[in-house]
Structure formats: structure tokens, C-alpha cells
């Protein structure tokens, strides 16, 4: 083929430029450590890099969120631990007060000690975090959740919101609990119903907290849920014979007779400590209609004629009211059998509530602990995931140095060869021989 002199030049230069541009690109890759210098080099990888980078940055954010959640939840755990320890303390004091060896003066001293505990309880419920935000006020971080509106009456000013922290793409974890759920939603009695001795009782009958024998029967529709156990002592009998009746106070009916309540003596005989069941026992009951309201209770001691014990559904009572009632009972205790009986009944009621409060407190502690564990797990996951993202990113972005460097040395050789031959061919001219 005929070759023009221009072509020889152009071709030589074209080849030199091609190899040079490859060299420059490889050099830039080595200098930046990046395989793809612009999206055009690998459009798919460029888009993936952007998305993986975002995923990584979100993952890092979740890890930071988990740190902050751990801090918050740690503070709550501390406050709750303090609170449950205080409850144990108060319970110990209440047990000590009920051992029968205390004089009214001793009890007053115990009452004073309990007032200190009461203040501590209030302090625990008003705990703050490092930023001065109250832990148990729900969303209203700057509102003090618990304050005494009157002596012994504590009002909750927070709300029932739980503060959440995002620790995973689909996981928001609660880092606070509302004060109302921890300190206020505490059931009285045995959690289902509550037994109370009438304040006018003069006998020595002490009522137990009762048991639910048949939860379905208790919850069934038509169950009045409010009863009274009324005692009558027939002192004409020798020894005096104690009988009792169970009255449905909603409908004002004697359950044993099925008629309106009458004066004693009643149909059922009383035996110290024996089960009083709120269901028909025939005989001695004469009620034609069978009934079973699913609960049993027991009374110990010797109730006097006209003594009454009420049975009502449990209500929520805040721990401050419970402790306050305990203090009142201790400080107003009277000497004598009647006074001791009243104190015993009050202590029983208070201890039931404190036990329930402990249950609530400990279950919140357990839930907080479980959340702390979950946050920890999530943080470990974040770290693992972060590592995976790094690997993915590296695969998408980073240069294979061995390949790039060998390419550079290969291209260098090629460029040198091209330069040398170019010069040689240019030297060939017929004019050299003329």
C-alpha cells in the first residue's frame, strides 16, 4: 500500500498519544487509590458507592444513637435500682413495726424514719439526666413530674409518653418510662380485689388479702364485685358463737339467704382462720340461687359483733399515698387490742401495696435491662454491618494496585518502544542518499 509521509507521522503520534493517555490514567488511579475516577469509568459502581456510603453513614448514626440510648437508659436503671432498694427498706420497716413488740412511741419514731424514706422516694421519682431533663416526666422533660399538692398527696404533672431513640432501620427503642407507669399504676390488695377492715371495727379480726379462686367467675358479667363480710357474735351462747354473712353491697342482698340483709345471728359459722368463700355453701346457706363469685378470703382473730370487712376491686394507688398511709397508721396508732388490730390491718394493706409496687418496679427494671441488652446487641450489629459496608465500598472503589502497577510498567515499555521505532522510521529517507 502506498503510504503518505503524513500518515507515518500521524500514525506514530496517534499511537504515542494512546499509550500516554493510558499511562496518565493508570498513574492517576495509583495516585488516588481509586479504580473509577469519575462515574463514567463505572456508572453502576458510582451509583452503588453513593448508596452504600449513605447506608454506612446511617449505620454510623445508629451506632451514635445507640450510645446516647445506652447513656439515657443507664440513668433510668440507676434511678429504678435506687427506687426498688428504697421499697425493700420501707417493707423491712413495716415488718418491724408489725412484730407486736413496739410501743406507740416506737411506732412514732418509725413513722418519722419513714418520712425520710418518703422524701427519698420523691427524690428518686424526680431524678434528672445530665442535661437537667427529668427522667420520669414523659415528653415534658423540663416539667418536674412529682410534687406534693398537699401533705401526703403527690400529683403527677408529666405525661405517659415514652422517649424513643432510633437504633436500627426499623427499631425505635424506648429510653424512658412514664412516671405514672412506674410510681402510680400500682394495684392495691392482691392485685384483683382489696380487703379492708371497717374503721369502726372493735374486734381483733385481721383480714387477709384473699385469693382469686376462679378468675373467670370474678370477671364474669353480673358479678357485683363489691361485698361485705358482716360478723355477729351470739354472746348468749356459751362459749359465744360467731357467725357471718356475705352481703352484695351493690344490690344490698344477703348472699347466704338471698334476701335483704338482716341482723345476726347469720347462717355461716365463723372459725378463726378458716376460708370464707364467696360462693354458695348449702347448707348452711338457704339462698335458692346458686352463686360463685370466684374469690376466697380468711379472717383471723376474734371479730366483734357488727364488725365488717369490705371486698372491692383493686384500684391503682400511687406509692406515695401508700407510704403516706403507712406513716399515718404508725403515727396515729393507739394502744390496746383494738389499736393493734387496726395497725395490723393497715400494715397488711400497706405491705400488699408495697409488694405490688415492687413487682411493678422490678418488671420495669427487667424491661429496662432487656432494652439495654438489645441496644448493646444492636451496637454490635452496627459495628459488623459497618465492616461489611467498608468491604463493599472497598470492592467498588479501591484500586487493585498490583494490576495497576503492572499495567503502568507494561505501558511504559510500550511507550518506549513506540518512541524508539518512531524516531527510527522518521530517519529513513531517500533524500539521505542524494
Amino acid at each position: 500500500m502506498r503510504v503518505s509521509t503524513n500518515t507515518i507521522f500521524e500514525q506514530g503520534i496517534f499511537n504515542l498519544q494512546r499509550v500516554q493517555s493510558q499511562l496518565v490514567k493508570a498513574q492517576e488511579q495509583v495516585a488516588t487509590g481509586r479504580r473509577a475516577l469519575t462515574p463514567a469509568d463505572d456508572p453502576v459502581a458510582a451509583a452503588r458507592i453513593l448508596e452504600v456510603t449513605q447506608s454506612k453513614s446511617i449505620n454510623d448514626q445508629y451506632a451514635r444513637n445507640a450510645d446516647s440510648a445506652t447513656a439515657s437508659i443507664g440513668l433510668e436503671e440507676n434511678a429504678l435500682t435506687r427506687y426498688t432498694a428504697l421499697l425493700q427498706d420501707i417493707k423491712t420497716l413495716a415488718v418491724g413495726a408489725g412484730d407486736g413488740a413496739q410501743t406507740p412511741t416506737d411506732l412514732k419514731i418509725l413513722g418519722t424514719e419513714l418520712r425520710g424514706r418518703y422524701a427519698e422516694l420523691l427524690g428518686a421519682a424526680n431524678s434528672t439526666d445530665g442535661n437537667g431533663l427529668f427522667l420520669f416526666s414523659g415528653y415534658q422533660g423540663t416539667t418536674q413530674p412529682f410534687a406534693e399538692s398537699a401533705s401526703g398527696t403527690v400529683v403527677y404533672s408529666g405525661d405517659q409518653g415514652q422517649r424513643l431513640v432510633q437504633i436500627g432501620a426499623a427499631r425505635q427503642i424506648a429510653v424512658s418510662d412514664a412516671g405514672s407507669d412506674v410510681f402510680q399504676r400500682v394495684r392495691t390488695g392482691n392485685g384483683v380485689f382489696e380487703t379492708t377492715a371497717n374503721a369502726a371495727n372493735v374486734g381483733t379480726g385481721i383480714v387477709g388479702k384473699g385469693v382469686v379462686r376462679d378468675a373467670a367467675a370474678w370477671a364474669a358479667a353480673g358479678n357485683p364485685n363489691n361485698f361485705e363480710v358482716r360478723f355477729s357474735v351470739d354472746s348468749t351462747n356459751v362459749p359465744p358463737r360467731t357467725t357471718y354473712d356475705i352481703v352484695d353491697t351493690v344490690n344490698n342482698l344477703s348472699l347466704t339467704t338471698g334476701a335483704a340483709p338482716a341482723a345476726g345471728p347469720y347462717l355461716r359459722p365463723y372459725q378463726d382462720g378458716a376460708t370464707i368463700t364467696v360462693a354458695r355453701r348449702s347448707p348452711p346457706d338457704t339462698n335458692a340461687t346458686a352463686f360463685d363469685y370466684g374469690i376466697d378470703l380468711a379472717v383471723t382473730g376474734a371479730p366483734a359483733s357488727g364488725d365488717r370487712f369490705t371486698l372491692a376491686p383493686s384500684t391503682n394507688e400511687d406509692i406515695f399515698a401508700t407510704v403516706n398511709q403507712l406513716i399515718q397508721a404508725l403515727e396515729t396508732s393507739a394502744p390496746g387490742a383494738t389499736g393493734n388490730t387496726r395497725l395490723a390491718n393497715s400494715l397488711n394493706a400497706a405491705m400488699n401495696s408495697i409488694d405490688n409496687a415492687l413487682d411493678v418496679g422490678l418488671s420495669v427494671v427487667a424491661s429496662v435491662g432487656a432494652r439495654a441488652k438489645e441496644i448493646e446487641t444492636s451496637r454490635t450489629n452496627s459495628a459488623d454491618l459497618g465492616l461489611q459496608y467498608d468491604t463493599t465500598l472497598s470492592g467498588l472503589r479501591d484500586l487493585d494496585y498490583a494490576k495497576a502497577l503492572s499495567e503502568i510498567s507494561f505501558n511504559t515499555v510500550a511507550l518506549q518502544a513506540a518512541q524508539k521505532t518512531f524516531v527510527q522510521i522518521q530517519g529513513l529517507s531517500l533524500f539521505n542518499f542524494m
Binding site: 500500500m1 502506498r2 503510504v3 503518505s4 509521509t5 503524513n6 500518515t7 500514525q11 496517534f14 469519575t38 462515574p39 463514567a40 469509568d41 463505572d42 456508572p43 453502576v44 458510582a46 451509583a47 452503588r48 458507592i49 453513593l50 448508596e51 456510603t53 449513605q54 453513614s57 446511617i58 448514626q61 444513637n65 446516647s68 440510648a69 442535661n131 431533663l133 416526666s137 414523659g138 415528653y139 415534658q140 422533660g141 423540663t142 405525661d159 405517659q160 409518653g161 415514652q162 422517649r163 424513643l164 431513640v165 432510633q166 432501620a169 425505635q172 424512658s176 405514672s180 358479667a221 376491686p313 383493686s314 384500684t315 391503682n316 400511687d318 529517507s429 531517500l430 533524500f431 542524494m434
Partner: protein
């Protein structure tokens, strides 16, 4: 006889001299761009008939001819116009390519920064520094939007300026071609005796013109060449030229368009008709890469600001007031056609963003013809005829604000083009960040059941703040919640554990076993400085697919843009490399035929030198012969 020998010798001398002249001309033009190798065409003279037969009469130089192939030349031209088209496209596309995915200057770092600011507020809703940092990072995001948009506008202005420059170059080259046409015609150049060097010059001009825009040529019998561009518009006819002009587009003032001036009027040349060359590269780049990129980028800005605002408005700031807009609301732009072919009616069109999730990255044109509106989606030329306005197309509500359009009036709607430029953060006061939700819920303390109410979700603030507490009371007999205090009134609702109860823009759900008479309340979320529920929802927007009918998150929409630009660039780069090889090959073929080879010329030099010397010898011998005859007479 000797006279004849003389005359033969002289003809040989002349022919050898012509050969030497042409060879020297070739050698001296070896590096001249567009030069075509010339050769001397010589023939033997007609013989003289004698009784002894035919005697040759020597040599005659017929002409000097270019080694020119129309076929090879036009191959080079068509390869070259495509190559300069691709070169220009690549050079422009690379600018956007480099801009978007730079790890430090692209949008991604600012986007991620902003959302980690939002997450910070979610983690510490009452912290003023966190709120300040969210606002500052929002401003950083907005200024990144603006910076990238400004760069895209700069590239667009660059294209406009270059188009103007190229148009005037085309005009200059065209007038030079017409001048040469005249010179060639006047020089008396014919097919048999061509004015080689003038033809070379004209071919070079055509090649230059061809690098600017693809042209077609038709040679005329008088030797002149007519040049056409676009869809057959004549640029040069004989020695007359027609000129192109560049001016602001009457449809879109941001762009420069190209007009063809004929008879004092200007006809707009469509972008599709001007192909190849640098001009074609610029126009195609603008239409196929720059416009979609700017629109797509604007769409990310539009959807981000709008969806973020929407969620922000569902929240409540630290003072207990319902949230406002965090970003300024971006608006669609409507341009009426202006200029000599501008709108004649009084109709004013408005376009509002009705549903940002449905937005496409396209512009729309609305033309009023025959009493109806024809809406065209410009990205794919889908035509949607409507008898009346308002209409909503792809999430854009188009309405006639005032006046009446005249037949043929046309409007350009750009829903997202300027969103990135116009984005602002409207909040400066840290207390205005709406991190909290506007309502909260509670179960009454006296409740005896285990029923719980969820924290509640707000989907509309039309009925907020609540005029008073909303109380749900459970009735066991009917298994229903009655609702008191809701305005407008709502309920009763049958209780199903965990299922959502929605009313007045609020949604709550109940779980557990509520007891008869248990009550739950929804109240205004006053003093809720530690509530972060709305901040959490704002933070989640980062990964929620909100763009393009819920198929892409902000980041993935942006990634898609980067990938599209990368693909475009990659594609034209590959094509450009291939085209360069093609140019090289066609040039090689053309040069192989028409180019000067110095070795060949050196050989020719020797050949013609020897021929010249030999002819000289012939003259010398003829002279000797003549002397011999004279001596006979002495």
C-alpha cells in the same frame, strides 16, 4: 529532420521541467493541511505520417491533476464530523460527570450531613446546639444544591456562548467558500484543466465547516460548490451566502437557539436538524444530558424540600406551636413564548406542584390549538390533549390563571428545573424546629383493665390544636369506644386489638384488655420539650422512597442521576474512541491515495532530472547533426 529532433528535444525538456515543477510543489506542500498530491499528465504527440510510416513528434504536457478521490474524501468528512460531534459531547459531559460524584463536592455528603443533624435532634430534642446544628446543616445542604445548580447553569451558559461562537465561525467559513467559488469560476478552471490549489483550499474550508456542523455539498457545472446544512437549507449557493444567527430561545430564555436568516426573516432551526460537528455535539449534550440532569437534580431538591416540609408541618415546635415550613417551597416555572412568533393571546398559565411524588424529570409544553390544550411531555413526546384546564399531569397542576390564549399560543412548563437554585432554609430560630408531635395520649390512672393506647400518629393538622381533651371510653357490652370532645365528632369505634382508629387526621390504636368504663385521652402535647417523635419521622425520610412514585429515596434518586450522567459520558467516550480510530483509518486511506510521499517525490526528482538531461542531450545531438550538414557545404 533535425528541426523535428529539436522540437522533440524541446518537448522532452518542457515535460521534464513540468515534472520537476510539480514534484517541487509536492515536496514543498508536504505539510500543508488539505493539500492533494499533484501529478503531470503527459501524452505523446500525434505522429507525422510519411512514406516511411508514422514518426513520433515528442511529448506534450496535457495538464496537472490532483490525486483526488471524491469517495475517500467524503468518507473522511463524514467520519470527521461525527468525531468532532463526539469530542464536543464528551468534553461537555465530563464536566457534569466530574461535578456530581466527587466525594467531597457532590450532593451526597451534604445530604448525609443534614440527616445526621436531624438524627441528632431526635436523640436530643431539647438541646439548642443540636437544633442549631440541624438548621446549619440544612443551610449547608441548600447551598450545596445551589452550588451544583449554579455550576450546571454555568455549563449551560458555556454552551450558549460556544453556540454563538460556532455560528459566527460557520458564517465566516461560508463566505470564504463563496469567495473561492467565485475565484474558481473566474480562473477558468475546467474539468480537464482544474485549478488544483484553489480546489484544495475550498475542500479544506468545507472540512473545517464540517467539523463545526455536518454539511452536504453539490458541485455545479461551472466549478462552484453549493453547501447545504440542516434539513437542506442552503448555506452557499455559487457566490451567494446565507447566514445563521444565534439568539435567546423564544420558548426558553435560558437557552440559545439557532436561526436561519432568509429574506430578512429568521426561521428557527430545530435541534434535531443540526447534526454532527461541534454544534451538533453541543445541542445534543444540552438536550440529552444537561437538561435531564438539571431537571433530575431539581426533582431531588423539590421532593426533598416538599416532603420534609410536609412532615415538619405535622410536628410541633418547642413552644408548642404547630410546625411551619423548614425549607422554602419550590415552585414550577412557566414561560410564555416571546419574540416575533410569541403568544398573541392574553392567557396566563400557572403550574403548581400538586403531588411531588409523581413528578418526572421532564419539561412540558402546553399548546393551545383549535380551542383545546395539548400538553406534551418533552422527555418522550407523549401528547395529552385536554379540552379544558385545570388539569393535573404527572403531579403538576396546570391552570389558566387569567385571560384567554390565542390559537397557536405555546407555554413551557419546567416543574423542577429551578428548584435547586431556589431552595432556602426558612427557619433561623432553633425553637421553631418541630421535633415533637402535636398530641399525646394517656390511659386514665383509674383504669382497671390492661388496655393501652398507642402514642398516636398525626397525618393532618387541619383539626389541631385540639379544642379540648378527646376522651375514649370503653364499653364492654358493645365492645366499643365512645369518643367525647372530638371536633368534628367521631366514633364510636369497635375495639379490635392493635388495629388503627383514625379520625380528624389522628391515628391511634389500642392493645390489651380494657375494662368496662376505662378511659383514654388524647391531649395537646404542651411543654413536650423532650418529645422527639416528629424528629424521628423526619429522620426516617432519608430512606423512605418518596421520589418517582415512591420508587426511590432522595439518595437513590441522586445516585440514579449520577449513574445516568456517568452512563451517557461513558457511552460517548467509547463512541468517541471508536470514532477516532475510524477517522484515522479513513484518513489513512485518503492519504494513501492523495498524500505526498517524500521518497516517491525524491525518486521523481531523479527521474525528471534524468529526463531533462537526456532531452538536453537530444538537443546537443540535433545541433551536432546540423553542424555536420553545414560542413558538407564548405
Amino acid at each position: 529532420m533535425s528541426g523535428s529532433i529539436f522540437s522533440i528535444g524541446v518537448s522532452g525538456l518542457n515535460a521534464a521541467q513540468a515534472g520537476l515543477l510539480t514534484t517541487s510543489h509536492n515536496i514543498s506542500n508536504v505539510a500543508t493541511e488539505g493539500y492533494t498530491r499533484q501529478t503531470v499528465i503527459q501524452t505523446n504527440r500525434d505522429p507525422q505520417f510519411t512514406g516511411s510510416g508514422f514518426f513520433g513528434q515528442g511529448v506534450e504536457v496535457d495538464t496537472v491533476r490532483r490525486q483526488y478521490s471524491q469517495f475517500l474524501n467524503s468518507q473522511v468528512l463524514s467520519a470527521q464530523t461525527q468525531a468532532s460531534y463526539l469530542d464536543t459531547y464528551v468534553a461537555q459531559a465530563q464536566q457534569i460527570d466530574n461535578l456530581l460524584a466527587d466525594p467531597s463536592s457532590g450532593l451526597s455528603p451534604a445530604l448525609q450531613g443534614f440527616f445526621s443533624g436531624v438524627q441528632d435532634v431526635a436523640a436530643n430534642p431539647s438541646s439548642v446546639p443540636s437544633r442549631q446544628s440541624m438548621i446549619s446543616l440544612g443551610q449547608a445542604l441548600v447551598s450545596r444544591f445551589q452550588a451544583i445548580d449554579a455550576r450546571l447553569s454555568e455549563i449551560r451558559e458555556g454552551v450558549n456562548t460556544e453556540v454563538g461562537g460556532i455560528v459566527s465561525q460557520i458564517n465566516t467559513l461560508a463566505s470564504q467558500v463563496s469567495t473561492l467559488n467565485r475565484q474558481i469560476v473566474n480562473s477558468g478552471s475546467t474539468e480537464a484543466k482544474p485549478a488544483n490549489d484553489l480546489l484544495d483550499q475550498r475542500d479544506t474550508l468545507i472540512a473545517d465547516l464540517n467539523k463545526l456542523v455536518k454539511v452536504s455539498t453539490v458541485p455545479q457545472s461551472d466549478g462552484s460548490l453549493n453547501v447545504f446544512i440542516g434539513s437542506g437549507q442552503s448555506l452557499v449557493v455559487g457566490n451567494t451566502t446565507f447566514s445563521l444567527t444565534s439568539r435567546r430561545s423564544t420558548a426558553d430564555a435560558a437557552n440559545v437557539e439557532i436561526g436561519y436568516v432568509v429574506g430578512g426573516a429568521t426561521v428557527v432551526l430545530g435541534e434535531d436538524s443540526l447534526q454532527g460537528g461541534q454544534l451538533g455535539g453541543l445541542l445534543t449534550f444540552r438536550e440529552q444530558t444537561l437538561d435531564p440532569a438539571a431537571n433530575e437534580f431539581g426533582r431531588v431538591a423539590t421532593v426533598l424540600t416538599q416532603t420534609f416540609n410536609a412532615q415538619h408541618r405535622l410536628g410541633q415546635d418547642i413552644k408548642g406551636v404547630l410546625g411551619g415550613d423548614f425549607f422554602s417551597a419550590p415552585a414550577a416555572v412557566v414561560q410564555s413564548r416571546t419574540g416575533s412568533n410569541g403568544n398573541t393571546g392574553s392567557g396566563v398559565l400557572t403550574a403548581t406542584l400538586a403531588n411531588v411524588g409523581q413528578l418526572t424529570a421532564s419539561d412540558y409544553s402546553v399548546t393551545f390549538t383549535g380551542g383545546a390544550y395539548l400538553v406534551t411531555r418533552l422527555s418522550d413526546d407523549t401528547q395529552l390533549p385536554f379540552a379544558t384546564l385545570p388539569q393535573t399531569v404527572d403531579g403538576v397542576a396546570i391552570a389558566l390563571a387569567s385571560g384567554t390564549p390565542a390559537n397557536g399560543d405555546s407555554f413551557l412548563i419546567q416543574p423542577t428545573r429551578y428548584a435547586a437554585r431556589d431552595a432556602r432554609v426558612t427557619i433561623a430560630d432553633t425553637s421553631l424546629v418541630a421535633a415533637a408531635a402535636p398530641v399525646r395520649t394517656a390511659g386514665a390512672l383509674a383504669n382497671l383493665g390492661t388496655g393501652k393506647i398507642s402514642a398516636g400518629v398525626v397525618s393532618s393538622v387541619a383539626n389541631l390544636p385540639l379544642p379540648g381533651n378527646v376522651t375514649f371510653t370503653y364499653a364492654q357490652a358493645s365492645n366499643q369506644f365512645t369518643v367525647a370532645g372530638a371536633a368534628p365528632a367521631a366514633g364510636p369505634f369497635t375495639y379490635t386489638a392493635g388495629s388503627a382508629i383514625s379520625f380528624n387526621g389522628l391515628t391511634v390504636s389500642f392493645t390489651g384488655a380494657p375494662a368496662d368504663g376505662d378511659t383514654f385521652t388524647i391531649v395537646n402535647n404542651t411543654a413536650a420539650v423532650a418529645d422527639n417523635r416528629n424528629a424521628l419521622l423526619l429522620g426516617q425520610l432519608q430512606t423512605v422512597p418518596t421520589v418517582a412514585n415512591g420508587t426511590a429515596s432522595y439518595q437513590s434518586a441522586y445516585s440514579q442521576l449520577v449513574s445516568n450522567v456517568g452512563n451517557d459520558t461513558h457511552e460517548v467516550q467509547v463512541q468517541s474512541t471508536a470514532q477516532d480510530s475510524l477517522v484515522k483509518q479513513t484518513r489513512e486511506a485518503q492519504q494513501s491515495f492523495s498524500g505526498v510521499n517524500l521518497d516517491e517525490e525524491a525518486a521523481n526528482l531523479l527521474r525528471y532530472q534524468q529526463a531533462y538531461q537526456a532531452s538536453g542531450k537530444v538537443l546537443q545531438i540535433a545541433s551536432t547533426l546540423f553542424d555536420t550538414v553545414l560542413q558538407i557545404g564548405r
